[in-house]
């Protein structure tokens, strides 16, 4: 069959739990919009549109991680590095909403679940790691690329465990939670490595071309001031 579902479909998690996460996602996104205004200026707003469009494109590119199993980029860490945590989460959420409403990918009932895992958890985990790593690593193309790689791997695994939590709360089948958690963590570590390579390459390219457009270089605090954009 052709490529169909890439995100949580309807029916996998029951209606009540899906509704709870729809509310959680809506409140969190509203909070992100409020906080994002401080970051969104005439330069960042179109850049954020491009980041969302780029994530949409790369999410279509499933790569093989095991025989018969593929994965695709989620984009949380990439978005956070390029446009910051609040706008980054909104970028991923925009992609998920477009995919759900126009491309029938990811159930409408499950939209809150998918936004919580990939946009909120993914961006939060990615942001925390990048913020910490960039206090140690140099603010060069290589330093930001390494931070993006590590943050991508972790954020994808965290997002996958978000699903495990939701399944534990409202899964509609009787399956061992431990088995699901292990299977999700294992395969998503591999997917995270693939995502990390794509995201790090993308970020390193932008740092070399337009370092001034990389949020992590402009706004994240670091211990030592390093020259920006000097290839290490």
């Amino acid at each position: 069959m052709d490529v169909t579902a890439m995100h949580i479909a309807n029916g996998i998690v029951n209606g009540q739990v899906s509704a709870v996460f729809a509310v959680v996602a809506a409140i969190a996104l509203a909070f992100c919009v409020l906080r994002s205004r401080a970051d969104l200026d005439d330069r960042l707003a179109p850049m954020a549109g491009l980041v969302a469009a780029f994530i949409f494109a790369v999410q279509m590119l499933n790569f093989q991680v095991l025989p018969g199993v593929s994965g695709h980029l989620l984009g949380g860490a990439l978005a956070v590095v390029l446009v910051g945590p609040w706008v980054g989460a909104l970028c991923v959420a925009t992609v998920l909403i477009v995919q759900c409403l126009l491309f029938a990918d990811g159930g409408l009932t499950a939209l809150g679940l998918n936004i919580t895992n990939m946009a909120l958890l993914g961006a939060a985990a990615g942001y925390l790691l990048v913020a910490v790593l960039l206090r140690v690593l140099p603010k060069t193309a290589r330093g930001v690329a390494v931070a993006t790689f590590v943050a991508s791997v972790v954020s994808v695994v965290v997002a996958s465990q978000g699903f495990v939590l939701q399944y534990w709360m409202g899964g509609t089948t009787e399956l061992s939670l431990g088995t699901i958690a292990a299977a999700m963590a294992g395969v998503h570590t591999l997917i995270g490595i693939g995502e990390g390579l794509i995201a790090a390459t993308t970020v390193a390219t932008v740092v070399r071309v337009r370092p001034d457009l990389v949020y992590a270089l402009r706004r994240f605090r670091t211990a030592t001031a390093q020259p920006i954009g000097v290839p290490a």
Binding site: I12, S36, P46, G49, V69, F103
Partner: protein, 126 residues
């Protein structure tokens, strides 16, 4: 928004459209990590139908918008799979940029009211 940013955005969008429009035809069609986990525990027949066991996939319900014209990354009515996937991808990139960029543009922090806005006309992302 200056011209250099405009060139960067145009270049980025071109790359995204190439990825979604052309490279997407070479993407793996295997189930992704989540899908594979959802299939674990079931056995499948030659047409990918469930033949036994217990797995999450059995509980999957149809998408409410499953017959939208772009459903499953294709354009309804276009028979050629590569063309259908590629065009839907390009359309998706443009729509995501227009919707996302448009909303971000609307909520952006503006310079002091009444000043400078005219100078920036045409700077909208759409």
């Amino acid at each position: 928004m200056n011209r250099r940013l405009g060139w960067f955005l145009a270049g980025g969008l071109l790359v995204a459209m190439l990825l979604a429009g052309v490279v997407s035809s070479f993407a793996s069609s295997s189930p992704d990590g989540l899908d594979d986990t959802a299939r674990a525990g079931c056995t499948f027949g030659p047409d990918d139908e469930i033949t036994g066991g217990t797995c999450m996939l059995q509980q999957e319900r149809e998408h409410q918008l499953g017959d939208s014209p772009l459903a499953d990354y294709g354009i309804r009515g276009i028979g050629n799979e590569h063309l259908s996937t590629g065009l839907s991808g390009i359309l998706g990139v443009m729509l995501t940029f227009a919707i996302g960029g448009g909303l971000f543009w609307l909520v952006r922090r503006r310079p002091a009211e009444g000043t400078g806005d005219r100078e920036r006309e045409g700077a909208g992302p759409a």
